[in-house]
Amino acid sequence: MEYKPNKNVIAKRIAGLLTDGSVVNLGIGLPTLVGNYVPEGVDIILQSENGFIGLGPVPEKDSIDPFLVNAGGSPVTMIDGGCFFDSSMSFGIIRGGHVDYTVLGVLEVDQDGNLANYKIPGKMVPGMGGAMDLTVGSKKVIAATVHFDKKGNSKLMKKCTLPLTAQKEVDILVTDVGYFEIKDGAFILKETFAPYTADFVKENTEANLIVAEDFKQVEIV
């Protein structure tokens, strides 16, 4: 079976996990794509950790507001019913468990739910920004990543090697191969995305892997 990275599959599946009325924080990069695939009839509220809820779509070029940016510093809009607040309130919302889902990009994630996504010692030192608070504080943490790194190694690790963003906080991992819950020291395979199969995942995983009783292969369109 040939593997082809596909970020949109990841974004689409994650979008399907978000419940109606939930408060969601989407990280910069891949997680941002999730916003494009939220199913009709599901009304989510996007939180932006730089200080507001009600994040809306990217503005037209001629209506950019220099004072309304997302946590990546890019111009955005606000939907009706949104509101602004300061950073202590923003992280009060995050740390206080008032964000239902946070979707984060990943450098490493392991079978214990540990996450590393902010630092490669001596090489990349951007800083953790809001990622540590988001990972610790959100009700459900969803990690999003392509299934294999550039060398072809599975991203499902036994143990993270990079400095951690947070300890044992990741609940769900969605790759372009499958959807996993992380529980009791194992990746629980809930779905593969056609054409990938459970066997394909097993063959390519060294970490603890359990195929869920209700496992199914699904088609992501």
Binding site: D65, F67, G73, S87, G122, V125
Partner: protein
């Protein structure tokens, strides 16, 4: 109610002294006071400790330079306490080379450290950072079966902020997402200087909508070239 003195941005920048801990509002430049920072760059005051969410944008190939980035290039900071320097390659270089002592702090923790200082608290317990490098050297306190780091307050000498509207007493409104760290820094610094795009008479602002009370503000600077609306 008394009026606050209105300074030029150059006069405001002169109030910042070498060695000061300077808190600068803004998130990737959005909410930083461009004209005060520009005057401070001109003044060249150095050996400063920067407290700011980030180091601004410095991506010269894309023409993106904002926030505190010009002062980083100008090597005015000997130390920085910040959450993210990923958009400023020069700050990363200075950190990796050891030229600047950069302390990276989780964003919620930085916000709360500043608020703690402003509110007279001696510190707080946060779950953020437990089991990570952030924990190193910190006291871990367990309560109700959960681990927390004991984090201490962070005070500053000067806050440099950007408001959309100020009244002459110093009450402040902030534009949309430019609010971020501004109201917190206003409480935590000995000297608070605010660049306001618009300055109105006392009594013109709705007292229920004011974000930062006048009592925190020392000086106002009237924006000369408003970039927003």
């Amino acid at each position: 109610m008394k009026e606050k003195k209105i300074l030029t941005s150059d006069a405001a920048a002169e109030l910042v002294k070498s060695g000061d801990v300077v808190m600068v509002g803004g998130f990737m430049g959005c909410g930083s006071p461009p004209e005060i920072l520009s005057s401070l760059e001109k003044a060249g005051t150095n050996n400063l400790t920067l407290v700011c969410n980030d180091a601004g944008w410095y991506m010269p190939d894309k023409g993106m330079v904002n926030g505190v980035a010009p002062l980083v290039l100008n090597k005015q900071f000997s130390k920085a306490i910040t959450t993210h320097i990923g958009l400023n390659s020069e700050m990363q270089r200075q950190m990796l080379s050891g030229e600047t002592d950069v302390q990276l702090v989780p964003q919620g923790t930085l916000a709360e450290k500043i608020r703690s200082a402003g509110c007279g608290l001696g510190g707080f317990l946060t779950p953020t950072g437990v089991g990570t490098e952030v924990e190193e050297g910190k006291e871990v306190i367990e309560h109700d079966g959960k681990k927390y780091l004991l984090e201490y307050p962070l005070k500053g000498n000067v806050a440099l902020l950007h408001a959309s509207v100020a009244d002459k007493a110093g009450n402040l409104l902030f534009a949309r997402s430019a609010r971020n760290f501004g109201p917190l820094m206003a409480m935590a610094c000995d000297l608070v200087i605010v660049q306001a795009d618009k300055i109105v008479e006392i009594g013109e602002l709705d007292p229920e909508a004011i974000i930062t009370p006048s009592i925190f503000v020392d000086y106002l600077v009237q924006t000369v070239n408003a970039e927003g609306k």
